[in-house]
């Protein structure tokens, strides 16, 4: 188990290192980092100080390591627009993004998993067909189109809900629904196919042939086994929460991290972009790590296999 954890943790660190390397390479290819990070209107002393603290006069491989060092110590540069530390700026926006993404995630899980399980158990029924149809739509309708259609219906035509901003909880309804619906459909489709596969396994048939009540078979055997692929998808959804928020926050002018990223990209506010990039990588890596741990809990075979390897 320890070795299993160590390997997973090592892989997570490696991924973060890859993202940092990616940022370093892209930053280097795009020009002088000092002016790029600090902006053109910074006094020469500041540039000199920056160059020194980031070690820009040193050979490239040393810069690469100092870059790691700077990031590890939380020095991610200042925003070009208002001069505040980029980390602070991003941190300020996190609650707003969480206010959308967490309810949206709960919506996805709360609708997607039960719908998928139900659809798998009643294959070919009306719910099953609806789930499949909505799942296709969830994939082909981009979130900005869905969001705008919801605005047209609920804000413009019916006037029930506001179309943008973040003043009351009502403002959060449309963005949460926009984010949640597509994800719920995708999750339902995955859960459905995972369940169908598990239900076809011999041990399920054996259990029900032995006279175990069907409900107990589902709860005791089918659900835990179908949970493994489903957990992977949920993990990926958690990891890509911020990415999903980028478009939806822009549609609804919601002042979260995603909106900040779009603004920062159009202003080429590199310190902020870089910070968000690392934030996304960290979220993703953490989510993957949790998924891996859950695997260990869900699948005793994996735990035992890893345990054997350690001895």
């Amino acid at each position: 188990m320890l070795r299993f954890l160590a390997v997973r943790f090592g892989r997570a660190l490696l991924t973060v290192a890859l993202v940092v390397t990616f940022a370093f390479v892209v930053l280097r290819l795009s020009g002088d980092p000092a002016t790029l990070i600090l902006g053109p209107e910074v006094p020469p002393e500041a540039i000199r100080a920056f160059r020194e603290s980031w070690g820009l006069d040193e050979p490239l491989w040393r810069q690469y390591f100092s870059y790691f060092g700077a990031i590890a110590s939380g020095d991610l540069g200042n925003s070009m627009r208002d001069g505040r530390p980029a980390l602070e700026l991003v941190a300020d926006r996190i609650p707003a993004t969480l206010a959308l993404t967490v309810p949206a995630l709960l919506l996805k899980i709360g609708i997607g998993i039960p719908a998928g399980v139900y659809a798998a158990m009643h294959r070919g029924g009306p719910i099953d067909r609806t789930v499949m149809l909505v799942a296709v739509a969830g994939f082909t309708v981009p979130s900005f189109v869905l969001g705008l259609v919801l605005v047209m219906v609920f804000s413009v035509q019916l006037g029930w809900l506001p179309s943008g901003g973040r003043d009351t909880w009502l403002h959060a309804v449309l963005p949460i629904v926009t984010m949640g619906v597509g994800g719920a459909a995708i999750l339902a489709r995955f859960t459905r196919s995972a369940m169908i596969e598990v239900l076809g396994q011999p041990y399920i048939r054996t259990a029900s042939a032995k006279g175990v009540p069907w409900g107990a078979v589902i709860r005791g055997h089918a659900l835990p086994n179908a949970a493994i692929p489903t957990v992977t998808i949920v993990g990926f959804m958690v990891g890509s929460l911020i990415a999903g928020a980028v478009v939806v926050e822009s549609v609804f002018s919601w002042p979260g991290v995603g909106r900040l990223l779009v603004v920062a990209v159009s202003n080429r506010d590199l310190a902020v972009v870089q910070t968000i990039l690392l934030l996304v990588a960290a979220t993703m890596v953490t989510a993957n790590l949790i998924v891996d741990l859950l695997y260990g809990a869900l699948d005793p075979r994996m735990r035992r296999g890893a345990g054997q390897g350690a001895h």
Binding site: V26, P142, V280
Partner: protein, 282 residues
């Protein structure tokens, strides 16, 4: 061309269902508009008619209405279809070529080359592509060539995995190792033998990646970070049309419908082809 060949009736292939025929019809229409758009478009897509601003659809001369500058929505739509399809085509081809090459390299050299390719593939699959794309655009600024190249990085890992797996199994004992043992160079083995043999699988993957690239490009353009004016694309039209969502919803509705129908058509075609031609992928 490849699609047309693959979908042509063959012995053992049932006639495509109605939905697939409709999808093919829609794709044909889109390709026709992308190629011959200039001859079909009623007007120049940048031509302004300030007297006829925000005319609703079915106005004479403007079947899909006009936008805030009096430009004909149908003409702009045709121009957008062309740009979006060209970007998606170019990007899909780049990504297929890149991924297949890396997959072949991994299969040929094994060892650390293979590990490096697989690690990059895992990374690419795990990291949200939109964020990486936005970061690159922020650092390098915006430009159409860069946009196509960037989109061309999308999905390469799927081709790489497929190409690697199939090349390894072909080389293990089959025709590929026979050609190698005849004295053929790796170039001949991979390009003349393995590539044609796995082409159908790769084409199926391309039809599945293509709609995702359309969605990605339209998303970026919607955010104002993809295709830049005066050029126009489907996502771009939706993005600018959003300002007039209350007064002139037709500006954004027609490109939105085209995005949804095109992704739906291409991805159902891809699913169908996968089930028919290539039971090996998933």
């Amino acid at each position: 061309m490849a699609l047309a060949e693959a979908s042509a009736p063959r012995p053992g292939l049932a006639r495509p269902p109605l939905g697939i025929l409709l999808a093919l019809l829609w794709i044909a229409l889109m390709l026709f508009l992308a190629v011959f758009g200039d001859f079909v478009a009623p007007q120049e897509f940048t031509a302004m008619d300030l007297m006829a601003r925000l005319s609703p659809p079915f106005t004479e001369g403007h079947w899909l209405g006009t936008d805030e500058l009096g430009r004909d929505v149908l003409s702009r739509l045709i121009a957008s279809i062309r740009v979006s399809l060209i970007i998606a085509f170019g990007a899909t081809l780049i990504s297929a070529a890149l991924g297949t090459t890396l997959g072949f390299l991994a299969a040929h050299f094994r060892g650390w080359v293979e590990q490096a390719v697989l690690m990059l593939a895992d990374f690419q699959a795990a990291m949200p592509f939109l964020i990486l794309a936005l970061a690159v655009l922020a650092f390098f600024g915006n430009d159409l060539t860069l946009l196509v190249l960037l989109m061309g990085l999308y999905g390469w890992e799927r081709y790489a995995r497929i190409a690697r797996g199939l090349a390894i199994s072909a080389g293990a004992q089959g025709y590929a190792s026979a050609v190698r043992q005849l004295g053929g160079t790796p170039r001949r083995v991979y390009l003349r033998h393995i590539l044609p043999n796995i082409a159908s699988t790769l084409i199926v993957s391309m039809t599945l990646v293509f709609p995702e690239v359309i969605l990605l490009e339209s998303g970026l353009s919607f955010l104002g970070l993809g295709v830049q004016p005066p050029m126009t694309s489907l996502g771009n039209m939706v993005g600018y049309g959003r300002e007039y969502i209350t007064r002139a919803p037709w500006i954004l509705l027609s490109p939105a419908v085209v995005i949804v129908l095109t992704t739906l058509a291409v991805s159902s075609l891809g699913d169908w082809l996968r089930d028919r031609l290539d039971p090996t992928t998933r």
